[in-house]
């Protein structure tokens, strides 16, 4: 008989470790037509980091995502970066890119101030223009300003900056201190069906509500969440490296079972409205936490469905059926 169950799990996850130095640097160059180039030492590992970093630079310069080209990951040309690890790119590298873009933008403000007859601190960069704060009609096209600054004033618009979440050592005896700059939060709720004759578990639906501060690109956050859940489903139900005498006995995709599209549940994603003042435009991060609560939610749903408490992952059909038979016997 098929039994339905539901289970929830929430989690917290740190962004921007501070127990050791954790810097990123970036350079932003504005071209004479108002488009821009970003140099970053991070690596695109499939998560969309370069798109997000481009959006952060574009926001600071008041231009569109498509106006920015991001050059990455070449030690001969790009500045240092601690790397595509620990869900740090949007937060740490993002802050560096934002600060670098602001430096480049300040050069444009210096050039535009005499043209608009106001001090530089009265200017803002918006909609591909440099304009007087509160007077959008008083503006100059950003390309015109960049061209004027570079070819007339001899002041090319370029900025370099770095960001390091302030390093704070922890007490080695008690572990007390501030090990991370900020944290994200999430809840996932799973609905499962368990066959009480075979122990097989099918995850039917997962609702995932995540906090990442400001989502710089909501579509990419949703993509991270869906990918994280697929990893979580594998961790919960299928994946396990098996050993015999120290040798892996299933080091291949025939015998190491992981979820395919056919195993994936319906996923409903929502983001919590939140803003972290320490992140670029309020952003924190989204990479790793998406994979964190899935297995726990599924285990709680299995318990709700058939009363079996799984205490060692993965919850294979054999383990779940063993638990059901034990319950029936007692």
């Amino acid at each position: 008989m098929i039994k339905r169950g539901r289970g929830m799990a929430c989690m917290w996850y740190p962004i921007g470790f501070t127990v050791a130095a954790n810097p990123s640097a970036a350079t932003v160059k504005v071209n004479t037509d108002g488009t821009a180039t970003v140099l970053t030492g991070t690596v695109e590992t499939g998560q969309g980091a370069l798109t997000v970093l481009g959006q952060i630079a574009a926001q600071a310069l008041g231009i569109a995502t498509d106006d920015v080209h991001v050059v990455s990951a070449d030690t001969d040309t790009t500045p240092m970066d601690t790397g595509a690890i620990a869900s740090r790119t949007t937060y740490v590298t993002g802050n560096a890119v934002m600060l670098a873009a602001e430096k480049a933008r300040d050069i444009l403000f210096q050039a535009a101030a005499p043209l608009l007859e106001v001090p530089p601190d009265q200017l803002e960069a918006r909609d591909r223009k440099i304009q007087v704060l509160g007077f959008p009609s008083k503006s100059v096209d950003i390309g015109t300003v960049a061209q004027h600054s570079e070819t007339v004033l001899g002041a090319p618009s370029i900025g370099s900056a770095s960001y390091n979440p302030p390093t704070v050592p922890m007490d080695p005896e008690t572990g007390q201190g501030k090990p991370f700059n900020t944290y994200v939060y999430a809840t996932q709720i799973a609905e499962v069906e368990v066959d009480d004759e075979t122990g097989e578990v099918e995850v039917k639906r997962i609702v995932a509500v995540h906090d990442c501060g400001t989502p710089i690109n909501p579509m990419l956050v949703e993509g991270q969440i869906e990918g994280g859940i697929s990893m979580g489903v594998g961790f919960a139900l299928q994946e396990e490296i098996l050993f015999k005498d120290g040798a892996q006995i299933n080091p291949n995709l025939t015998n190491y079972i992981m979820p395919t599209s056919l195993d994936m549940p319906e996923i409903e994603v929502e983001l919590v409205d939140n803003y972290d003042p320490t992140g670029p435009f309020g952003a924190k991060g989204a990479g790793e936490p998406t994979a964190v609560p899935t297995a726990a939610a599924i285990m709680n749903a299995i318990h709700d469905a058939v009363g079996v408490r799984i205490t060692s992952l993965p919850a294979t059909a054999e383990k779940v059926l063993g638990g059901i038979l034990e319950l029936q016997a007692s």
Binding site: G5, M8, A9, C10, W12, P14, G41, V43, T45, G46, T51, A58, G62, A64, T65, D66, A73, T75, M80, G83, R128, E173, T174, G175, Q176, G177, P179, F180, Y185, T187, V207, D211, N217, P218, M219, M231, F235, E240, I241, G246, A247, Q248, N252, L253, Y256, E270, N274, P277, K284, G287, V292, A295, A296, M299, N300, R309, I310, T311, S312, L313
Partner: protein
């Protein structure tokens, strides 16, 4: 499938015929293996990419289009004139001393251009915290994934065949596979010294023993997690090439090139200015590509042969020699009042560290700090130990210990709710952090959104309306 292949062949033949018909006379044409896709120069642009302000836009990824058109250049797509291929021979034992390595028969094979052993690597150790891992084992092998020798040959197949000609004599040592056994007094010491524990972490807040005595209920349970692999679509891959100025360029699937170059400079004993490390677009990382693997080997083989040298892990290499997720054994003891308020939590975690340290430092730190869960608990004691075993090296993987401890703290949360007859949503809301809460390390938390996520998820799911 046969039919499909045949259809493709027929289509290709027709295409060649059609091209030849259009081609000038006497110019024999062949169809390239990879016929480039013709695509419009006027590309449709996503509106979100063109809009301001940029933040918050659902902008498409420029690399997404290249993936779709097959234009992304992964390492396996890169080739250079005179490029050759490397393969690494892995240990036959989980724990053994290497007595001798004889590569002469492999070197004599036609097509083999060079071999390499660990003794030829200028500084044969690496690791992000402890440099306890050899690039190629030259003294002791500590798990079956340890490389012991490498071959560079004109084709991948010849390199693979040549591995079988390498003779390695081992003196087997007693292995230990279970982390709890590895803690025992009589367990073999995998890295010498007087213990297999190589990292530990303690978090102490308040007085747990006093709070347990005051608790209405105490819950105790052991939770365990397994070893899992990242399984990126693209396995680890790299190419190394020396130039006439003594500079080496390395293309790699590594996710952290700044620190990767430091590791290369250290192992190769070269100034950083002599190394160019290029991170290509990576086909999936998930934490598994945070360390150098074959890069120093390829650099040495390239120096020996004067040619660019490439290696791409097989799926088997990926499983046995790259890092995987730490299994956790977690003992949770939690003191709770009748109304569901948690007042104490004591946690002991044993991490199966595998053969080398890798990213255990970060994993044990994050795992320990996060282990009590996102809850206001005044009395906390966490202690965690990472233990060497003769198994695959565990390292960074999406979440650094967080998925393991979340499985434990959220499973126990439901056990508590079930026993006390409290709704799982309500018990979480009762204990969850709020703005300004104090974390297990007494950090004042800001931008906290745990209750919001619980309520929003419950509403979206229909938690209150649910009927089984």
């Amino acid at each position: 499938m046969a039919t499909r292949t045949k259809d493709v062949q027929t289509d290709a033949d027709e295409l060649v015929t059609a091209r030849e018909a259009r081609a000038p006379a006497k110019q024999p044409l062949t169809l390239p293996a990879d016929d480039p896709v013709a695509f419009p120069l006027q590309l449709p642009e996503s509106k979100a990419r063109l809009q301001t302000p940029a933040v918050g836009q659902r902008a498409t990824r420029p690399d997404g289009r290249l993936h779709g058109l097959g234009q992304t250049q992964y390492i396996d797509d890169l080739t250079f004139p005179h490029m050759i291929h490397a393969k690494v021979l892995r240990s036959e034992h989980a724990h053994a001393r290497i007595v001798s390595i004889d590569t002469s028969s492999a070197e004599a094979m036609p097509g083999v251009l060079a071999t390499l052993t660990g003794k030829e690597i200028p500084r044969n150790s690496f690791g992000p915290t402890l440099q306890d891992q050899p690039v190629l084992a030259d003294d002791v092998v500590r798990h079956r994934g340890d490389g012991v020798a490498a071959v560079a040959a004109v084709t991948e197949q010849i390199a693979a065949d040549a591995l079988e000609k390498i003779k390695v004599e081992y003196e087997p040592l007693r292995p230990v596979f279970d982390p709890l056994e590895a803690l025992g007094d009589d367990a073999p010491r995998i890295h010498g010294g007087d213990t297999n524990i190589y990292a530990s972490k303690v978090i102490k807040k308040g007085d747990v023993e006093k709070a347990f005595a005051e608790s209405d209920h105490v819950f105790e349970r052991r939770y365990q997690t397994q070893m899992v692999e990242h399984v990126p679509l693209e396995p680890h891959a790299s190419i190394a090439s020396w130039d006439g100025n003594g500079r080496v360029s390395i293309w790699s699937s590594l996710g952290r090139i700044t620190l990767g170059r430091e590791d290369l400079a250290r192992t190769l004993e070269l100034p950083q200015s002599k190394i160019r490390l290029i991170g290509t677009i990576v086909g999936g990382n998930f934490g598994g590509k945070n360390e150098i693997t074959n890069e120093p080997i390829l650099a040495m083989l390239s120096r020996k042969t004067g040619r660019p040298v490439k290696s791409v892990f097989t799926r088997g290499d990926e499983f046995v020699s790259s890092t995987i997720r730490h299994p956790f054994t977690m003992d949770y003891k939690t003191g709770v009042m009748n109304d569901g308020t948690i007042i104490a939590r004591k946690i002991r975690i044993i991490l199966d560290g595998g053969a080398y340290c890798s990213w255990t430092g970060t994993t044990i730190g994050k795992g320990s700090i996060l282990a009590p869960g996102p809850y206001n608990i005044d009395n906390i004691h966490v202690e965690a130990y990472a233990v060497y075993t003769n198994k695959t090296t565990t390292g960074a993987m999406r979440g650094f210990g967080a998925p393991q401890v979340c499985f434990a703290y959220e499973s126990q949360m439901d056990e508590i709710a079930h026993k006390l007859g409290i709704d799982p949503l309500e018990i979480r809301l009762k204990n969850a952090f709020s703005e300004g809460s104090s974390s297990p390390t007494s950090q004042t938390l800001q931008a906290v959104a745990i209750k919001e996520s619980l309520n929003q998820a419950a509403q979206r799911f229909g938690w209150k309306e649910w009927q089984a």
